[in-house]
Symmetry: C2
């Protein structure tokens, strides 16, 4: 069994993939798109990608790539992991002018950086482990890296502060090709694509159906459709095979597209057990 | 008169700032937060920051920084500019393994990169001009940069393709300390902060008031409040001084916070003339 994950190796996503799959060969791929395509084409049975950070919201690369590349690949599981970011520099470092890390980690730690290194410029690199490696290899005395403690230490950096972004949870999703069966407590991830955003009340109309059936929505994240409109991504409480959810989805689809001309007016990406990840013990 | 803008120099934001302010001293600052703070503290009269890209949606750094740092600083004007991205490399370049640019530009061009350089790794650097400069200075033969044509050429790079992200508009906003007066056609930017997201229909409830008054919403962008909930950012058609908008805002505030305990249940960042930027001639 093969499991693709967003690489490179020695990142938080690899840890998550290993926790989610104790057995099987882990295959690191450097783009979220390629992980989705690997599952889509059957090159790997499963895929593991980051989906949402407690502090920084949904990963928009994941949403955009799901819309473009996922058809057979479905969301089948979610699990959140605690991410402990540390900041380190070379032992003989001077004043810190640059802070290297992955863009997501820089965003998660932006309050810490604004408070502690207000003049430093954040520099986005491809991964947190790459940030530590570069400072060590290029002997950058005016730079710090945000990474895991083990990655800082293994690159020979001195840990200056630990857990600089408290309560930092990242939720990962597992992609597979077989849809799940309903449990007592599931969620369904989908996108709503109103054909005309210039009409007052179009979103309001869409949300009336879940409200009427007491189906909860987590949030409603807009992404441009590149034609002047938006896909609104949302998670509904319930499984796509539940009659109640089928009614809600059918109602929204009919409301937006009564003549059935827009196949992407409502797109469902999968249903999976609700782990109530935001309540995970921190 | 001083105008702060998101630097460094020779970026698209500088061009926008110079177009918006033909006179006055332009002051480049390297964080969106610092531009807001400069206007907030009166160090500069105005500030210019990127707000939204046609392909890539609202700039979340701008939203987060407005929530944290803007009080006296208000949005007073919007204007969209056409951004022409080009890709270039050293004249004697070999196979392209890395593509350097600012994170936003990499995202805007991700379809082009997936089609033309599917194996290349995107590398985020601090600005588009920095991407071209680094390839030239470090003589990187396996790398390309996405930047403006003039920035590629002035760094000695060869332009391989022009305008690789068609219809690419970025909307900039001007911050100032004096609120605007209503015109015939304005928009108001605000955040809605529901105290309890676990309640089915809470968003639906909020959207009922603008729908009833035929006030349109552009989108509704959630950003985590770092306490398990969300701020939903939205633009309403109308000026905050219009009685109709005051009713809508008052209704939402009362709906979310009937006992007036949550000062940030509704936060208005300013009203400004609607340029209908998505209809801008491309």
């Amino acid at each position: 069994m093969k499991i693709a994950y967003l690489g490179p190796e020695r990142t938080f996503t690899e840890k998550a993939a290993r926790d989610l799959f104790q057995e099987g060969e882990l295959v690191p791929l450097v783009h979220i798109r390629k992980v989705i395509q690997a599952v889509e084409n059957g090159e790997t049975e499963f895929g593991v990608i980051p989906f949402e950070n407690y502090h920084n919201g949904k990963v928009i690369h994941t949403l955009d790539a799901l819309s473009r590349y996922a058809a057979k690949a479905r969301l089948i599981r979610e699990k959140a992991f605690r991410i402990v970011h540390c900041i380190g520099a070379l032992p003989n470092h001077r004043e810190i002018n640059n802070v290297f890390s992955k863009d997501q980690a820089l965003e998660q730690c932006d309050e810490y950086l604004a408070d502690n290194y207000p003049s430093a410029t954040p520099v986005a690199v491809s991964s947190t482990s790459e940030a530590a490696r570069r400072i060590a290899e290029e002997k950058l005395l005016n730079a710090a890296a945000i990474s895991s403690e083990e990655s800082l230490v293994s690159s020979g950096l001195e840990v200056m502060a630990k857990d600089i972004c408290p309560n930092n949870l990242t939720r990962f999703i597992v992609l597979g090709r077989s849809p799940t069966r309903p449990t007592e407590d599931d969620k369904t991830f989908l996108a709503i694509h109103p054909p005309r955003m210039d009409e007052a009340g179009v979103l309001y109309g869409c949300l009336g159906f879940p409200a009427a059936y007491k189906v909860n929505l987590d949030d409603l994240l807009p992404r441009p459709d590149r034609r002047g409109g938006y896909y609104f991504y949302t998670e509904m409480s319930g499984h796509e095979q539940e009659p109640r959810i089928q009614r809600v989805l059918g109602d929204i689809k009919y409301f937006l597209d009564p003549e059935n001309k827009s196949p992407d007016a409502v797109k469902v990406f999968g249903s999976y057990p609700n782990t109530h990840w935001k309540d995970t013990k921190r």
